[in-house]
Subunit: 361 residues, 2 copies
C-alpha cells in the first residue's frame, strides 16, 4: 500500500469522511513565502486570520516574522487575544460588537486597532474607548474602485480623520486599502492626495495597509505602504491557482471524502456537500478540484452530497474510494468545521481546533 | 418605541449582530401544520432534523405527534440519541461513519434504520451490525428521476433487497423516495413494480417513505406510502415561499443584521455575509429577503459583509439600522451558528444550541 493510501485509511478509520485536513509542511512553506514577499518589499506582514481562525497557526505566522494579525470579527480577536497575541487590527466597521459591549471589554484588555468608514461607527468606537478607559486606534478604510466597504473619496476620508482628531477617545492610526489587481494606479492617486491633505492639516499617518493574497503580485508597489494583510495564502485554494498565485502543490487544505454512490455510468456522489465545502464557487466553474480525478466535475451540491459528472473522465472512481478535494474558496470551507486534522506529508500529526469559528460578533 | 424596535435593541445589546433568531410561536405553528398534514394523509411524520440540528426542537416535533426523526449524518443521530430519541432513520449511505466505527457504536446503543443504494454500503453495514451484535434495519433509496442518490430501477433495488435478505446481520426495512414535484406518477409506477416483485419473492415491506417540504402539496398521493420526512417546514425560507408552501409570516428564522456602511446613494453593507447566510442561493435571485426593505437586493457577499443595492428602494436604511433577513435556504444558514436566539413574538425566551452542527461523519 502506498503512503497516501495508508494515510487515507488512517483518516477514515480515525475520523471518518468527510474530513478536513491541512498539510503542515505546505503550511510552513506558505507562511515563509508570504513573509519573504513582505520582507523583500519592505512592508510589515499582518496576515488575515479569517482564513484559518486558529491561534496555533497565527502564532506560527508571528514566529515567522509577522508583526501582528488582521481579524474580520471581534470574536476572532477575542480568541487571538486569549492566545496571547497583542497586535490586532480588526478590519471592519464593528457596530454589533460595539453595541453589545464586547468591543469595550476587549479594548479594556489590550489596545486594539479598529476600522471605520463612517461617523456612526466612529461614535460607537469613542463610546467603547471611554467605557474601556483607553483611547482606541482607528484606521480609515478607503475604497478605490472595488465597491467593497470604504469611503470613496479622499475628501470623505479627511472628514472622518478630522472627526477622529477632535475626539479625545479616538486616535488616527492610518489607512486601509484593498486594490483591485489592475487598480494600483488608482490607489496611488488616492493615497498621494491623502498625504498632501494630511500634511496641510498636520496629521501624521502610521499604518498604510494593502490587502489580499492575489495582491502579493504587486506588493510594495504602493509608494508609502507600510504593511500587507493577506489571508488565503496560508492554505491557498482553486481561486489562488486560477489567479496564478499558487500551484496545486501549494494548496495545504484538502477535504478527504468518500464516493458513496455510483448511480449510472457517468454519475457519482461524494459525502461532502454544501455543509462541508460550501456553495461559494469563488466565481469558478464547479465546486472544487478532485486531485485524483481532475476531469471529474463537482457540478452540484445538496447539503451532505457532492454530485459528480464523469463524462470527461477516462478512469472513473468506485464506491468506497477516498478522494481529496481542493475547494474553490478555502476561507469559507475551514469555517464549516470545528477542527482540522493536521498531517505532515502522509503522517497524521495533530488536530487543530478552528477556535475562532462560530463567534457571534 | 415599538415592541419590534425594543426587541432589536435587546438583541444587539445582549448578543450583537449578526444574530440568528427563531420565533417559537411560528415554530409551534409550523410543527402543528406539518403534523396535521401527515395525520390527514394517513402517513406517519418523520421530520428531517438536518434543518434545525437541535434535540429540543426534535422533541417538540415528537411531542406534536412525529413517530421518529430523519437524520442525514451519523453525528446528528448520535446527538439525538443522547437526547433520548430512539426511532432514528439516517437517510444516506454511511461509508465514513461505518469505517470509523461510529456507526457500530451507535447501533450497539439503539437499533438504527440506515439507508443504502449499493452493495458496498450494505457490506459495511453488515460488518457494523456484527460489531454491534445487533441486526441493522436497512431502507433502500430509490431515484425516480431527480438524479440524487438512489438506485434508478426496480431491478437494482430488488438485487439489493435480496442481498439484505440473505445476510443474517441485515434486515430489509423499506423504501425511500424523493419525488420531484411533477414526478408522482413515476414514483407510483416504480413502487407498484417493487410491490409486485417483492410479493413474488415473499419479502414484506414496512416503511415506504416520501420526502421534502414542497412535497406536502402531494402528501398521501403515493398509494402505499407509510411516512413522510420533511425538514425545512419547521422554519421555512424564501425557497419555500417561492414554492408556494409558506408565506412570509411562516418563516420562523431571521438573521438580525446591522447596516454598517453606506457608501454611495444606492449602496449599503450588512454585517452578515457568506459566513452567516451562506452562498447557497437556493436557485433564487440574490441571497435572501430583507423584511424591512423588500426592494433592497442582497446582490453579493464577502465573508462577513452583504452588499446591498438600493436602486429599487424609495426608502433607504441608515447606518446602524438593524434589519431582519430571511435566507433563501434556511438549513444551511442554521448550520453556520452554534446557537439560535429563541423569541416569542417580541420577547427573548431562550438560547437554543444547534447541538448536532459540526459533526465529522
Amino acid at each position: 500500500m502506498s503512503d497516501l493510501a495508508a494515510l487515507k485509511n488512517e483518516i477514515i478509520e480515525k475520523f471518518g469522511t468527510p474530513c478536513s485536513v491541512i498539510d503542515l509542511d505546505v503550511v510552513d512553506r506558505n507562511i515563509t513565502r508570504a513573509q519573504n514577499l513582505c520582507d523583500k518589499a519592505g512592508v510589515a506582514n499582518r496576515p488575515h486570520i479569517k482564513t484559518h481562525k486558529s491561534p496555533l497557526l497565527a502564532q506560527m505566522q508571528i514566529k515567522a516574522g509577522a508583526q501582528g494579525i488582521t481579524c474580520q470579527k471581534l470574536g476572532e480577536a477575542e480568541v487571538m487575544a486569549d492566545a496571547g497575541i497583542t497586535d490586532i487590527l480588526i478590519a471592519t466597521n464593528l457596530l454589533g460588537a460595539a453595541r453589545s459591549g464586547s468591543l469595550a471589554n476587549l479594548q479594556r484588555r489590550l489596545p486594539l486597532k479598529v476600522c471605520s468608514d463612517n461617523v456612526v461607527s466612529l461614535s460607537a468606537y469613542a463610546t467603547c474607548a471611554q467605557q474601556a478607559n483607553r483611547v482606541i486606534d482607528v484606521v480609515i478604510e478607503c475604497d478605490t474602485g472595488q465597491k467593497r466597504a470604504g469611503v470613496e473619496t479622499p475628501n470623505e476620508a479627511i472628514k472622518l480623520i478630522r472627526r477622529i482628531h477632535n475626539d479625545p477617545w479616538l486616535q488616527f492610526a492610518g489607512l486601509l486599502y484593498y486594490p483591485s489587481l489592475d487598480g494600483w494606479y488608482d490607489v496611488q492617486v488616492f493615497h498621494d492626495k491623502m498625504l498632501s491633505e494630511l500634511k496641510k492639516i498636520g496629521i501624521a499617518i502610521n499604518i498604510v495597509s494593502t490587502g489580499g493574497t492575489p495582491n502579493f503580485a504587486h506588493i510594495g508597489k504602493l509608494k508609502g505602504a507600510t504593511e500587507h494583510r493577506a489571508g488565503t495564502c496560508i492554505f491557498n485554494d482553486m481561486m489562488m491557482v486560477q489567479n496564478g498565485f499558487a500551484n496545486l502543490d501549494d494548496c495545504a487544505f484538502h477535504v478527504f471524502t468518500s464516493i458513496v454512490s455510483r448511480a449510472g455510468e457517468n454519475r457519482g456522489i461524494l459525502d461532502a456537500g454544501s455543509k462541508t465545502l460550501t456553495s461559494d464557487t469563488g466565481g469558478l466553474q464547479g465546486f472544487g478540484r478532485i486531485i485524483e480525478h481532475p476531469c471529474a466535475n463537482i457540478k452540484k451540491f445538496s447539503e451532505e452530497h457532492g454530485f459528480l459528472d464523469f463524462t470527461d473522465c477516462i478512469k472513473k472512481p468506485n464506491i468506497g474510494d477516498i478522494l481529496r478535494v481542493i475547494p474553490n474558496h478555502v476561507c469559507v470551507a475551514v469555517n464549516m468545521v470545528d477542527q482540522l486534522v493536521a498531517v505532515r506529508g502522509e503522517k497524521i500529526i495533530d488536530v487543530v481546533p478552528v477556535k475562532a469559528r462560530g463567534k457571534l460578533v
